[in-house]
Amino acid sequence: MARKLSEMEAERIKRKNLANWLLSMPALLLLLFAASGPLLIVIFYSFLTPGNYGGIVWEFSGDAWFKVLFSQDIFDDTISLSDAHLSIFWRSVQLSFLTTLICLILGFPTAYFIATRPPKTRNIWLFLITIPFWTNLLIRTFAILELIRNKGVVNNSLISLGIINEPINMLYTDMAIVIGMTYVYLPLMVLPIYAAMERFDFRYVEAGFDLYASRFKVMWRIILPIIKPGVIAGSILVFVPSLGAYVTPRILGGGKNLMIGNLIELQFGQGKNWPLGAALAVTMLLIVLLALIFYMRISQRSEQKDAQ
């Protein structure tokens, strides 16, 4: 009897799964064509030969993939690791990581602040957070440039306050890129953390205090673990576009401090090497994937540690 019942249950679940598949078909098809289609084209292009004036020639070549990691000396044909590309990859990862970290440090207290306001005022704060989205990215980036250049607002006011004598050279440095990306992506960190925080039941905080947890312990052992999904979502939302950022490093990095996005753009533009551009784009995708897997591993491990 029991066996039969469990079989019936399995049957029921199977039928339900089939219905779920059928119902999600339209969305799946859309995803398949709209998301995977362009991606497949990019992957396909990365295995073709570059045309002389840009574009591609329909001829198989692994050259682009070779060039992503290696370079061949034009005089003696010696093969070496492509320092230029690798250092750009590494810088991109570093700067994106730094940006994510700073966004987290700034965004968490901000989200906490908003979530602890009375419900009526919360919406006003959220509204203020989203205002920067209303202006074009380019204009916002130029505004940052205006703020941090040597004769800009920040340096001028620091000098007139007598805090520094010489202007701090910020523009066209990695710092400028990080400042710019932090500014641009901060709302993407605040919003998911806020969403998690808003659902957070502050009675857990009282229960924590009741059980002798200090403010720090309550934050570390209760609030953070419970809103972790929001923190993870925010970090991904900041890290991924930072890695592919193009406008910000171009303007604030002054063209000297490239990131992956600029490198890819270069191949499709001046470099006239579409397959290499495509291969670089796919490489970036792989880096993002690796970073995500790494991130998941870490957060899973900390969960296991919590559970002990």
Partner: protein, 371 residues
């Protein structure tokens, strides 16, 4: 635990008030409340919904600071001490179990915060799990257990650090009757064994009467009366207390004369009858011409004949309770009166609705209320 230590005051609440909001919407959740709760006492706060029970617990726990007044824990002023520095634990009305932790982790949380050694923590956790019969669900997440199980985990979590004072906000309300009975006995045993002072909130009067050393009856942010279950049941001072606990008859009486003394005694006539009774008179009523008198239904006796009866009336309804029957009468002056009497085997007295019956009331059963 020596006798003197047991009688010492654990919590001293002195003229405490808690107001929420501001003027047009000012809520006086507590107004000028003073109580002394003794060490290792099972002290119950009893009152209807919204009377301020939870608010008083929250003040003692330290989640809220009083608008005015002072609180002492073991003679130390705790009025403004944060909750994590008070040796007070709470079983929350909403449980508030940590959703990211398992049952066992919830229970060990307080011990970890107190930096107890590892082996001690795991021993205490096992002890607590056994106490609330939750050993099997040790590794379950708290959102995967039933409401009653959550309540038991909340209890174990609050008991584990062995606080001086345990605050329990309706901890048994989600349990079924049998489990509830079991937990009541278990709680009582724990309180006697551990020497922890229990402050227990309930609006179940039966639970309050059976478990408490003393009860405080609250209404509208005030404490109306504090006393042992016996005092509260037999000598309620106010109509609200008498009405809230058990069943009561209230009868208007005429004050014939008052004899001064401590306490003053009055001679009274009930509901327009001629016979006079003597009863203690509250000081505040000594000048009044009428008084409200209170009589428990089980303290009145029903008889077939109206002769020699204190009151007479017509039977309007009978409610059978197994061991007892409640007889509802309409007295001659139109007031309602209930007599509760035990059902005995072979009892020859079987009145029918509409019968004219007599009620006999003993002088000792009559109590004059303050209001």
């Amino acid at each position: 635990m020596s006798k003197t230590k047991k009688d010492a005051i654990a919590i001293h609440v002195n003229g405490v008030g808690k107001y929420f909001g501001s003027e047009p919407n000012l809520v006086k959740a507590l107004d000028n409340v003073s109580i002394d709760i003794r060490r290792n006492e099972f002290f119950t706060l009893l009152g209807p919904s919204g009377c301020g029970k939870t608010t008083l617990l929250r003040l003692i726990a330290g989640f809220e600071s009083p608008t005015f007044g002072q609180m002492l824990l073991d003679n130390q002023d705790i009025t403004n001490l944060p909750p994590y520095h008070r040796s007070v634990n709470t079983v929350f009305q909403s449980y508030a179990l940590f959703p990211h932790l398992t049952v066992a982790e919830n229970i060990s949380f307080g011990l970890e915060m107190l930096k107890k050694p590892k082996h001690e923590i795991s021993a205490t956790v096992d002890e607590m799990l056994a106490l609330v019969h939750m050993e099997e669900l040790k590794h379950r997440r708290t959102d995967q257990i039933s409401g009653g199980q959550q309540q038991r985990v909340a209890l174990a979590r609050a008991l584990a650090p062995k606080p001086d004072v345990l605050l329990l906000d309706e901890p048994l309300s989600a349990l079924d009757y049998k489990l509830r009975r079991g937990m009541q006995i278990e709680l009582k045993r724990l309180q006697l064994e551990t020497g922890i002072t229990f402050i227990f909130v309930t609006h179940d009067q039966e639970e309050a009467l059976t478990m408490s050393d003393r009860i405080a009856v609250m209404s509208n942010g005030h404490i109306l009366q504090v006393g042992t279950p016996n005092e509260i049941y037999y000598n309620p001072q106010e109509r609200f207390v008498a009405d809230f606990i058990g069943e009561s008859n209230f009868i208007e009486a005429e004050v014939v004369s008052v004899t001064k003394g401590r306490p003053a005694t009055a001679s009274l006539r009930l509901a327009g009858t001629r016979k006079t009774f003597k009863a203690n008179m509250p000081a505040s009523k000594s000048k009044d011409k009428t008084a409200t008198v209170f009589i428990r239904p089980e303290h009145a006796k029903l008889q077939k004949s109206t002769r020699g009866a204190t009151l007479t009336g017509t039977l309007t309804n009978m409610l059978f309770f197994g061991t007892d029957t409640n007889y509802h009468l309409e007295l001659d002056n139109g007031e309602a009166f209930v007599v509760r009497s035990q059902n005995e085997i072979g009892h020859a007295f079987h009145p029918a609705i509409g019968d004219k019956l007599g009620v006999v009331i003993d002088e000792q059963a009559i109590q004059v209320l303050k209001d």
